[in-house]
Structures are given as C-alpha cells and as structure tokens.
Amino acid sequence: MTGPIPGRQLWHFHGGLHLADHKAESTGRPVLDLPPPARLILPLRQHIGQIAEPLVRPGERVGKGQPLAAAEGYISAPVHAPTSGTVVAIENAPVPHPSGLDAPCIILAADGEDRWAEGLPDPVPDYRALDALTLRNRIREAGIVGLGGAAFPTAAKLNPPPRHRIDTLVVNGAECEPWITCDDMLMRHEAAAILSGVAIVQHMVRPRETLIGIEDNKPQAIDAMQHALNAAGLPDTHVVPVPTRYPTGGEKQLIQVLTGKEVPSAGLPAEIGILCQNVGTLHAVHRAIVEGVPLIERLVTVTGDGVAEPRNLRARIGTPFAELVAAAGGYTPDVTRLIMGGPMMGIAVHTDAVPVIKSTNCILAATPALTGEPGPAAACIRCGECARVCPVRLLPQQLYWYARARDFDRVQEYSLFDCIECGCCAYVCPSHIPLVQYYRFAKTEIWNQEREKARADQARRRHELRQARLEREQREKAERLARKKAAVQRRKAGGGESAQDAIAAALARVEAKKKARAAARDKDDGEGRD
C-alpha cells in the first residue's frame, strides 16, 4: 500500500529536489528511552514568540511535569520540569542557535527519583466532554509547540481568525529532509496516539476532511497509520502517500501536493481553509489531553556518519546533546560538525553542551564526506538553476544580487520573506554561492533595521516630550515671576497706607488665632477636670 489511493488526485509544487534519503541508517535500531540526565538545561525561549517568565527560584524543589516558566502573552509557551529535582540556577547558558550566543535558561539538577509533581491536570480519556476553548487552554498550558521544527505555539495555531473556516486538516508526516527519521519512528510505534491527537483536533476545528500526508519512502509508517486509522474509524480521514521529493514536508508544499491549493504570499494556510499539524505535535496533543502529561520529552534522531550507532532516542527536553551522542555509540573519529536538524535546513551548533529543545528533531553528526569542502564561492553565471528548483517560485538570483548589495527594499520587492530557506537553490548552485546565508543575512538585517527605526522613533518621542516639558516649566516660572513682580508693583503703587493695612490685617489674624487656641485649651482643661 505504497501508491496513492486510487482516485485521489495529487498535485506538484514547483521545483524541489530528489535527494538520497539516508533514512535506513537510523531506523534499523529500536527507539531507546534515555533516562533523565543529572543536569538539565531548559531555555526559556524554545518557541516562536515572547520569552517565558520563570515561576521558580534557585533552590526550589520541583516535581516532574511542574511548570517552571509561564507563557508571556498570546504567542508564547510555558516550560515544564522534565524530571523531578532542584532548580540550581536561572542564568545564561549555551543553547542550540546559529549565533552560538548564550540565552536565559533554567538549570535543573535531577534527583533521580523522576517523581511526578502534584496538582497536574487530570487526564481526560473522553476529550468530547470538553469544548474547543478548554482543550485549547490545556494544549497551551502543556507547552505544546509545532514539533516539526518551527516551534510555533500550537494553541495559537489552533485558533484561526473566525472569518476563516477550516475545511481541511492536513497532518504532516512527510518528513522530507534526508537523515531525519523521528516522525517515521513515531508513526510506526505510536500511530494510535497520533490518531487520537488527530481526533482531538478534529473535535476542535471540525474540518470537512483530514489528509495524513506521508512520503512513500516510509512504507512501514504508512502501514502503521493505515491500520491505526482502520481501528480508530475516524470519518473523512485518509492516509495519503505522497511522492518523495524535498521539500514536500514544508507546510505550504504539502498543502499544495495534497489539495492543489496555494497558500497566498505572506499569508497563512487558514486563509485558504487549511490547518496543518505535524504528527509529533498531534502525539503531544494526545499526551496532554488524554494522559495529562505536558511536553517534557520527544523523539530525537541521532544520526550521520559521525556517530557509531545512529538511532532514535526518546529524550527529555533539556538533555545535553553529548548524552544523546553517547547513547548512540559516541562519535566516530572523523566527525567534524554537529548539526541540529537535517543537512539542508539544520543549523550548526558550536558545542555538544547545548540541550535538546522542543524543536530538536535531529542531531546530525557530520563528517567531511557529508559537509563537503567549504571553498570560496565563484561568481554567479546566471544559469537559472536556482529558479528552476525553488519550490516557492522565487527568483533566487535576483534575491542574491540585492541581498549582496544590501538593497533591502528591492530584496523585499522580490518576496524575500516568502523564502522558506529550504536550501534547494544553494544546493544546485554550480558556483557554490551560499545563497541561503545571503537571504538569512538580509532577513535578520531587515528586522534589525526595523528595531532600530522603532528605537529611534521612541527616542525622538521622548526627546520631544522632554523639550515640551522644559518649555512649559520655563514658561510657568516666567509667569510666576511676572505675577510676583506685578504684585510688588501694585503694592508700591498703592503707597504706605496699603502696607499698613496689610500689617494690621496680619496682626488681626494672629490675634484671632491666639484667641482660638486659648479657647481650645480652656475646653480641654474643662474636660480634664470632669
């Protein structure tokens, strides 16, 4: 059952690449449960959006599953304790990020008991008892974010604007990037739980149809999902094998393959009535609702020629990469770099002390055979190969020229922000130009300029307000002086008589006050005697 369902039409997206998938390396060994490490590093920002706000203090003892940091704002996600232990510190620590900079983290020392916290939400075996809003809040409180890699808070994604009715739920099991197999293994072993998550989301958004897209290089996952689907009997839900082609697993690309609809430029799938969720995310939704367990662990593929025994591991969030590599047999002698994610879109990390975060789907230990020779780029020869393979139908050459010239207005006119950074253009470039790095440079530089502009506007506003205040103060002072001067002049003009009047009036006031005081004293004395 690897071909498309008879009668179901599939579409193509533009371009893309057919890559050697290298999935067999890590699917040959069973999934290993990794015990919690002695020390966990939990970044406060593992998601897109506002950084989470710590709820605990150093020295505090926490139970497994206890919230350690709360979501700040709508687009944010809480962080939970992956095991029981003591909070050691809240400080900057290395995180998996291309900059290699440190970021605020909660450091947790495990006590080895792995004891559940008290007061966790009760499991809800029958999700139909809850309405969409309650379910959404529970998903939010469980800290669930998109586990496909983008880490966008799932609760926000499950709440599309009311004007967009969700017609189709697309379940993303494509996993198109070479080497990564964590979704494949999850579908093989946890198909029933994934479909339970699908049912919960169906209950929440009530789509007309649900399509589970899986690339046809994963026959076992397709079988497992089809069996589980037959058992669960979800209506209007289909497992749809899709051709293996990178980047089918991109949200917009999978939607196009399954429905033929294109997400508009700078738009969201909800605008065309589609909601897309990764299989790992749906598994986490099932765990959060039916089992009452927040997102504290995930499947991670540890693979590449740089590790001895590539395999999938079920690891707690916060486990350092080094421990996962050790559990996968350790490094081979010729390992050169460590990548979080796949070879096409992953980011090189600077140390294996960085922790697994919610979006860590793969740790790729690469050897020179995989990374290739980083040589100098040659000049662009305008061959147009990049435009041929671009799945978004952009003009990578033009983007490159303008990004290189730092012409940020023009590069945006060429839809830079529709680029999904899949790396197809850089892959086929005969001149080995690091195209995606130019786009990333341009994107982050544009954001930086916007921030600086906002800061300058704020400074201008504050300076103007200050100037206005100083002027007002000066004016008021001048007016006060003028009034005083006028009063003095008036008195002078009035002559000595008025001055004597004033003295007489003052004396009268003093006399009156004295009398009042004497009267009060007499009264007090009288009361004292009684």
Binding site: H18, A20, A348, L364, Y427, F441, R455, Q458, R462, H463
Partner: protein, 197 residues
C-alpha cells in the same frame, strides 16, 4: 490687438488668483524636508554635530546651513541616506567631531558612587535616567540612546559607557564573505530526477 491684451491680462489675473488661493489652501505647516531628514537621523540627541539635538541639525541641513557629514553616531549609513535623500554626493564623516563607536553603547551608573545630585538627569535628552535628589540614580537601559551627555555631567565620574549587551534575538546572520562564510550545514546526495513530465 486690444482683444489680445485684454485676454492675456484676464488670463494672468485668473492664474494669479488661482495661485494665490492654492498658496493659502494647500499651505504646508512645518518643514517637510526637515521632517524627512530628521527621520533619517539616529535620534541619539547627542549634539556631537554642534546642534542641540537631531531636529535642529535636520533643520540646519534643510536650510543649507550644515553639511551632511556631521552625524557621528549615524556614520556612513546616515551620510549615504542623506545623500540619497537630498541628491548630493556623499562625503566622508567629519571626524574632527568624534569617532563613531564600533558597537552600540549604553550608559551605566555605578550606584555605590552615585551621590544623587540629579545633574545627569538634567543632562539626559531622552529622560532615560530615573532618580531624585539624594536618591541613587539609574539608567533605563531600553531608553538610553548612548549619547554620552551624562558622562561629563557627573561630578563624581560614576557613569560609564559600556557596549550594549547582545541579545540572542537581535543577532543577525553575518554577511557572507569568501573568508568568513558558513557553508550549508551538510551535503545530501542528489538522485536522478524521475520527474520528466
């Protein structure tokens, strides 16, 4: 002959009235060119250009009294933007006014030495210092423009300029150069394309 003179006079009177009306009806308050120049300036309000703030400098440029190369914190980028805006040739920065800092700075008050004199509060052009007489002062980091005007104002030298902390969220990808370029993380092998249709 007379008809021609009359009609020309009538026309010029009509157009004169029209122009006069337009001058009143479509009158623009303020100085739009100065506004545009002000929007380009970095708003540090540091006064290194010799004018008491960015707005006065913008007005001076608009009036043709000041050169475009006097903004030290803005550096090359602001000079280039001003040159583009005004249609003149860019000039190198007038370094007699000061050297641009290699990275953004922020003022820090060493609170153990602060005597609470409020002089720095009066010097700060954007009200980024909080405090009161005989109370320790502190800088609101997010509002500080790094203008350094508070540094000479402090009688006990307790204000220091430090580089702004680099936030991971504000990190930008480096510009790829032949020597410092991050190759794609790894290569995958391309298979023959099956799709021919």
């Amino acid at each position: 002959m007379l008809a021609a003179i009359l009609s020309i006079s009538a026309l010029s009177a009509l157009f004169g009235l029209l122009l006069g009306f337009a001058a009143i009806r479509f009158r623009v308050e303020g100085d739009p060119i100065a506004d545009q120049i002000d929007a380009v300036l970095p708003q540090t309000q540091c006064g290194q250009c010799g004018y008491p703030g960015c707005r006065p400098y913008a007005e001076a440029i608009a009036a043709g009294e000041a050169d475009i190369n006097r903004c030290v914190p803005g550096g090359e980028q602001v000079i280039q933007s001003l040159a583009d805006l005004l249609g003149v040739d860019p000039k190198p920065l007038d370094t007699s006014l000061g050297e641009p800092e290699p990275e953004p700075q922020v003022a820090v008050i060493h609170e153990q030495w602060c005597i609470g004199c409020t002089l720095c509060i009066q010097a700060c052009p954007v009200d980024a210092i909080v405090g009161a007489a005989k109370q320790v002062h502190t800088v609101i980091e997010a509002e500080c423009t790094g203008c350094k005007l508070c540094v000479p104002a402090c009688p006990v030298d307790c204000i220091e300029m430090v580089p702004l902390r680099k936030d991971i969220e504000e990190w930008t990808w480096p510009y790829p150069t032949p020597t410092a370029y991050l190759p794609p993380p790894a290569r995958a092998d391309l298979l023959p394309d099956e799709e021919t249709a």
